[in-house]
Symmetry: C2
Subunit: 342 residues, 2 copies
C-alpha cells in the first residue's frame, strides 16, 4: 500500500491494489441504455422541440447552445450584508449556465461522431470561453455522461457554467501550479506531460499534439488527464491543427472507454485552463490547459467504485494502480465496438 | 444564489435553492431492502458464521470486532525509494483495518437498537481509538450505511481504519481549526456549537450534552454535524454521562433520518477528533470532537443528489438551503416509523 502525491491538489491518494480481489456483493447499477431513439418528440434537447420554459429549439444540424432552464447561477443574485461572523460568511454567487448539444441526433456520442463533428464541438467550447470569459473569471465546461453520473437526458450534450468567482477546484489547482512554477521555473503540467511521454507506462493514447494518461495521482479507477504537448494556457489558444489533434485524441480515448466494458462509458469530464475575466490581463504562465475525465466504474459495466466513508471522511483510496488502469485502456482496440460488427 | 463559507475546509459551497423545482428525469435508485432476515447462514458478519478467510465468528451477543479480510491498510508496507521527482512522490501507507458489528441481529440498525446497546457501540469506539491510538496518528471510525453508499453487507456494522499518516481530510480540518484558534482564541467548533444553539435555525436535535445541526456549510442535502457542548478533544475523553447523551441523540437523529422518507436512511458517517499517536503529547486545544453524517438522498427514497461534473470539476453545489433541510428534519417525529404501527 502506498500514498501517491496529487500534485494538482497538494494531497495524497491511497492505493491498495490487491483490494480488487475482494468479492463484490454490493450494489450493481443498471447498465446504460443502449437503444436510444435518434429523435424523440418528448426530448427537450432534440431539434425543433419545445423546452420546459416554452422556448422552441431551432432545427439545428450541428451544435446547439441555449441557456439552462433551471440555472444554478444567475447574473443578478443580491449581495449579502457585510458585517459577518467569521463562521457564517456568505457571498453573492453570480453567473450564467448554458447547455450545448453536440449533435442533432440523440443516438450518438462523441466517440461515435465524425471527427469534423467533434471539431465543431471544440470550436464552440473555445467560442464560449472567449465570449463568457470577457466578463467572468471562470468558465467551467463539463459533461456529465450517463445516468450513473446524474445526467438526466441521453441526448449528447455538455454544460457551461460561468461564475463571478474562482470555484474551489480551480482555485486549488491555480495555487498548486503557481507554487510549482515559482519553485521549478516550469509549468507543472508541461513538465508532467514531458515526463509521462517519456515514461510511457501511464500513457493511454497520444498524437503529435496531445497526450492522454491515467495520471500518477488518479483517484477514480479509470480517470484520465488530457494534455496538449505545447504550452497552452486556454482552450481559446489552440491552433487549428491542435483542435484537429484534439478531435482525434478525444475520439480515440472515448472509443477505448466505450470498449472497456462494451457500453456507452459513463463519466464526468471538464476543462481547466487559466482563469479569464480580469485574470486575462495577468501573467498566467504557470497554467497549462487540460481536461479531467472522472469515470465511476471499477469492475464492470455495472459495478462502480464507491467513494464513501473512508474517502469522504479521511482520504481517497483506489483499488488498482494507475499503471494497471493505463495498460488496460492502452491495449483496447481503437475501433468502436458498435461499428466493429459492420 | 450564494456561496457559503466552509470553515472546516477553507472553501465555499454554492447554494441554488430553487434548483429543487426542476423536474427529475434522471436515475432512480432501488429503495433500500426492508426485509432482512435476522440471521442468514451465508452472511459472514452473523454470529457463529465462517468468514472469507476461514475464521469463525464468535457467538457474540453484543458488539463484535475483527480484522478486515480485505484490508486497504496493512502494518508492513515497504518503503519506496527516497530520491523522487517532485511530480512522482510516494510514501509507504501502513495501518490496520477493523470491522465492528453493532449487534448480533442483521435486521436492526442503530436507531432501532436499544439505548444501552448503542452505548456499547460508543464504548467500543472509544476503546478502539484508545487501543489503536497508542500507535497510529489517525484512527478513522466510519460507517457506510446502505447499498447506495457502497455497503455490501446489510448487517449493522462500521469500520475502523488506523493509519501511520494523517489523511487529507483530517489534515485540512486540523489546519482550519488551528488557524481559527490562533486568530480567535477559542476552538472553532466550540464557538460554532454555541452560536448554533442560540440561533436554533439549523438545529435538528439537542440534549444537555450534545447538538446535531445541518451545518452552515453542509454540502449534502441532509448532511448533519454532531457536536458535544463541552470542549472535548477525542471520543476517549467523553464522560459516562456524555456517552449516554450521545446514545440518546444518535438514536433520535437517526430515527428522524429514517422517518424522512420512511426507509432505512443511507449515509456515510465518521468521527473526527484530535489526532493520536505522537500527537497525544502535543497541545491539541484547537480540536473539538465531532461526527459528520453524509447522506446521499435529495428528493425521495430513490433520488440521490449527484455530486458530478460541476461539483467534481469546480465546486460543490446544493439545491436546498441548510435551514430548509434542518427544518424538515426537526419537524419529523422522534418515534421510528417501523415501531409506530405497534
Ligand atoms: O470495505 P467495503 O465496505 O467493502 O467498501 C466500501 O467502503 C470503502 C471505504 O470507504 C470504499 O473504499 C469502497 O469503495 C466501498 O465499497
Ligand atoms: O444540470 P443537471 O444535468 O440536471 O444536473 C446534474 O449536474 C449538476 C452539475 O454537476 C449537478 O449539480 C446535479 O446534481 C446533476 O444531476
Amino acid at each position: 500500500m502506498q500514498l501517491l502525491f496529487r500534485s494538482l491538489k497538494d494531497t495524497w491518494v491511497l492505493v491498495s491494489a490487491h483490494r480488487m480481489k475482494r468479492p463484490w456483493a454490493g450494489q450493481v447499477e443498471k447498465p446504460p441504455e443502449e437503444h436510444i431513439p435518434r429523435y424523440d418528440p418528448r426530448n427537450p434537447l432534440c431539434p425543433g422541440n419545445t423546452r420546459a420554459n416554452g422556448e422552441v429549439n431551432s432545427d439545428y444540424d450541428s451544435t446547439f447552445i441555449f441557456e439552462n432552464d433551471f440555472p444554478a447561477l444567475q447574473p443578478d443574485a443580491p449581495d449579502p450584508g457585510s458585517d459577518q461572523h467569521p463562521l457564517f460568511q456568505s457571498k453573492a454567487a453570480r453567473g450564467i449556465c448554458k447547455v450545448m448539444c453536440f449533435h442533432p441526433w440523440s443516438d450518438v456520442t462523441l466517440p461515435l461522431m465524425k471527427k469534423h463533428e467533434v471539431l465543431k464541438v471544440i470550436d464552440k467550447w473555445a467560442g464560449l470561453v472567449e465570449e463568457l470569459g470577457t466578463k467572468y473569471p471562470w468558465v467551467q465546461i463539463f459533461e456529465n455522461k450517463g445516468a450513473m453520473m446524474g445526467c438526466s437526458n441521453p441526448h449528447p450534450h455538455c454544460q457551461v457554467w460561468a461564475s463571478n468567482f474562482l470555484p474551489n477546484e480551480p482555485a486549488l489547482s491555480d495555487r498548486c501550479q503557481r507554487a510549482y512554477y515559482k519553485k521549478h521555473g516550469e509549468p507543472l503540467l508541461l513538465q508532467y506531460a514531458r515526463q509521462e511521454a517519456e515514461k510511457k507506462e501511464r500513457v493511454v493514447v497520444e498524437n503529435s499534439d496531445w497526450l492522454a494518461v491515467v495520471p500518477y495521482w488518479a483517484t477514480w479507477p479509470y480517470q484520465t488527464l488530457l494534455l496538449p504537448r505545447r504550452h497552452v494556457l486556454r482552450i481559446t489558444d489552440l491552433t487549428t491543427g491542435e483542435r484537429e489533434g484534439l478531435a482525434d485524441i478525444m475520439k480515440r480515448l472515448l472509443t477505448k472507454y466505450d470498449n472497456l466494458f462494451e457500453i456507452s462509458f459513463p463519466y464526468s469530464m471538464g476543462w481547466h485552463g487559466a482563469p479569464t475575466g480580469t485574470h486575462l490581463k495577468e501573467d498566467n504562465s504557470h497554467w497549462h490547459l487540460h481536461a479531467h475525465y472522472y469515470p465511476p466504474l471499477l469492475r464492470s459495466a455495472t459495478v462502480k467504485k464507491f467513494m464513501v466513508g473512508y474517502e469522504m471522511l479521511a482520504q481517497e483510496q483506489r483499488d488498482l494502480t494507475p499503471e494497471q488502469a493505463a495498460e488496460k485502456l492502452r491495449n483496447l482496440p481503437e475501433e468502436h465496438y458498435k461499428t466493429r460488427e459492420n
